[in-house]
Amino acid sequence: MSFGLDSRMLRSAAAIAVFAAIGMPVLAEEISVVSGATGSDLQDFPAIVKPWEDKTGNKVTVVPMPSSTSDQFGQYRLWLAAGATDIDLYQTDVIWAPQLADHFVDLTEAAKDLIPANFPSIIQSQTVNGKLVALPIFTDAPALYYRKDLLEKYGVEVPKTWDELTAAATKIQEGERAAGSGDFWGYVFQGNAYEGLTCNALEWVKSFGGGQIVEADGTISVNNPKAVKALETAAGWVGTISPEGLHAYQEEEARGVWQTGNAAFMRNWPYAYALGDGADSAVKGKFAVTTLPVGAEGDSSAATLGGWNIAVSKYSQHQEAAISLAVYLAGPEAQKMRAIMETHLPTIQALYDDPEIAEKSPIIPQWKSVFMNAVPRPSAPTLGKYNEVSSKFWSAVHETLSGNGSAADNLAGLEADLTDLKGDAW
């Protein structure tokens, strides 16, 4: 290992081996997991860790955080910077690994059996300079939601390209408005100036063949004709098939319009599926999901890789137990429970073929095709500067959507800003 052997690491690995071998607790420890998990995720957490607690005799407490990821990130940064010992495990967003890598324990050795079972792209997103910073516990990828009933009513096919989507949305919107639904819109997505816009815009750019903003080798690729075309297409939706207020939309606003039956298409994460199928939903049973469209035939669809991981703090005073818990939380047993209880997409490939999951959460196998097109945001090449890169990117896109400056000008400006930010190296 290039990073050198840490004696503490060895000890902890050895300790886990001992625990596993004798299968009984030596000393009960209390492990704190801080997590931005919400709602039922949070309620089911005790059930998910129960088997581990029973096996090791340790106790797990969860520290909930506000659901805003930037609040979470701010707190974690500060706690880690001060070497806070109160938290043992951190649940981390897929894009945080490079920014927080210094404070987490390398899990390569502890999770060596788990790594090959996972999708390689996810493992790679959590690896920084050869160090496995966090273990994936579930993944997330957005899809195109469409109204089956309306597509049938207006005799349109499920759109494969963005142009087809535009045409279909226009047709349905005109028809529905003529029929009296004045608030009906063709397509809703997330256009507010925040991380979600980076996700949306990355999908447009990538599916038009315009690269990934910053490529894996660190080259800034965002200013190219295909990316310009992608943003121009998106800017054309605002005010025509998408509401003017779209540049204020996050996930919930889009879902609000969709779930009250006022949109034909929506780009959203899997969470909207179960909610849209709820008893009080106006679209219950009337919709389906597919992969997001492409720029032109021959391009490949893109869905931004989301998802959450678990990392062990370097400052934890219960490292052995913490590492063992991390491995358990990322393991097949816990992931399967999460898939069944929470409809969270597993990161372990074999679970997509699991009959029990297919039966209890049928959308998970469906989502595999969406997930296979997942693209990572450029957090790996840009390292600690990712948040700033993303902020500059979403600002440029937001300006374009709001009609302040052309796509070409804004992207040229963005390229200059990013070059400046990059300096000699990321």
Binding site: G74, E244, G245, H247, E253, S391
Partner: protein, 321 residues
């Protein structure tokens, strides 16, 4: 007050003075220690960080780099000179401008509205107690709650503000208040004015109640126009109270953070100095740079207060009186 002590015998007076001074030191010490710990020391740390290249990943490993975070002159290999640092950062100056604009507009509106409300409350009428209680409600609601409440009401699709305005025929289509760059600042101002006018009204009311009633009676008998009474008599009398109220509000407005952080966190149109320094301190990997911005924010406040006290001849310490 000193005259009073001399009234007591001179000899005992001296030892008494001494005793009182000692007691004063004893009484002041706990407060000074508390303030040093929670305020002075952290601020000094921030000033120090701003002169280093500290990163949040390595809080104790920063090197001293002088004023580079504020202004750095770089000569590139091709001979061009580049300026970097907060003082030439357009994002920072945008934030300064936003903050100043926000503070001036909000404090002016709050002062005017606060005065009107205070004048109303100063009049005798049925249900005054109820009204006084009602106007204090916005002020009692936690900022984070009121920000969320207004975010909900300002929502473009199912927010009630758009609904009301549409029904009244004031707007023709739904407005995305918080996201639209043209309206984001209005949205923030609206919420802030709603939230802090009660406080302003309270301070104005306190000032108004010190104005002797007989002045109004006399003016009424003389048949002087009430508007004239207000500008000629009331306003000059409550001016000192008003000046103090304005400076407290102004200080709050210049530091505004949580309202904007919840309502419009990423909009460049509303990003204020506090918001941008948090972004650099924590969100971006620019801890030292953010510290420099915090330090500048403090410096700007200090300069502003000094100018205000000096130009407005505000007697804050009451020493003159």
């Amino acid at each position: 007050m000193t005259a009073s002590t001399t009234a007591i015998g001179r000899e005992s007076g001296r030892s008494l003075q001494q005793q009182r001074r000692n007691a004063a030191i004893l009484f002041l010490a706990p407060m000074l220690i508390a303030l040093f710990c929670v305020a002075a020391w952290p601020l000094l740390r921030t000033v120090w960080f701003s002169l280093t290249d500290t990163s949040l990943n390595n809080l104790y490993g920063g090197r001293f780099i002088g004023f580079d975070n504020y202004l750095r002159v770089q000569t590139l290999s091709n001979g061009t000179v580049r300026y970097k640092g907060t003082l030439v950062d357009p994002a920072w100056w945008n934030a300064v401008w936003n903050t100043v604009r926000f503070s001036v507009v909000s404090v002016v509106c709050e002062t005017i509205l606060g005065l009107i409300v205070a004048l109303v409350l100063n009049a005798e009428f049925k249900g005054r107690g109820f009204v006084r209680a009602a106007i204090l409600i916005p002020w009692a609601i936690p900022t984070i709650v009121s920000a969320k409440m207004w975010a909900w009401m300002l929502n473009d699709q199912y927010g009630i503000i758009n609904d009301i305005l549409l029904h009244l025929g004031i707007i023709s289509s739904k407005i995305a208040w918080t996201a639209n760059t043209d309206t984001a600042m209005y949205a923030v101002l609206m919420v802030d004015i709603w939230k802090t006018t009660p406080f302003m009204a309270l301070l104005c009311l306190a000032g108004l109640q010190m104005v002797p009633r007989d002045i109004y009676e006399a003016a009424k008998i003389d048949g002087i126009n009430p508007v004239k009474v207000f500008f000629r008599i009331t306003l000059p009398l409550i001016r000192p109270a008003l000046m103090v109220a304005v400076i407290f509000r102004m200080l709050d407005a210049l530091r505004i953070f949580d309202l904007i952080y919840v309502l419009t966190p990423n909009s460049a149109a509303t990003k204020t100095m506090s918001v941008i320094s948090r972004e650099n301190l924590i969100e971006f990997d620019k801890f030292a740079y953010g510290s420099a911005q915090s330090t500048l924010l403090f410096a700007i406040l200090a300069i502003f207060v000094s100018l205000y006290i000096w130009l407005g001849k505000v007697d804050l310490s009451g020493e003159a009186g």
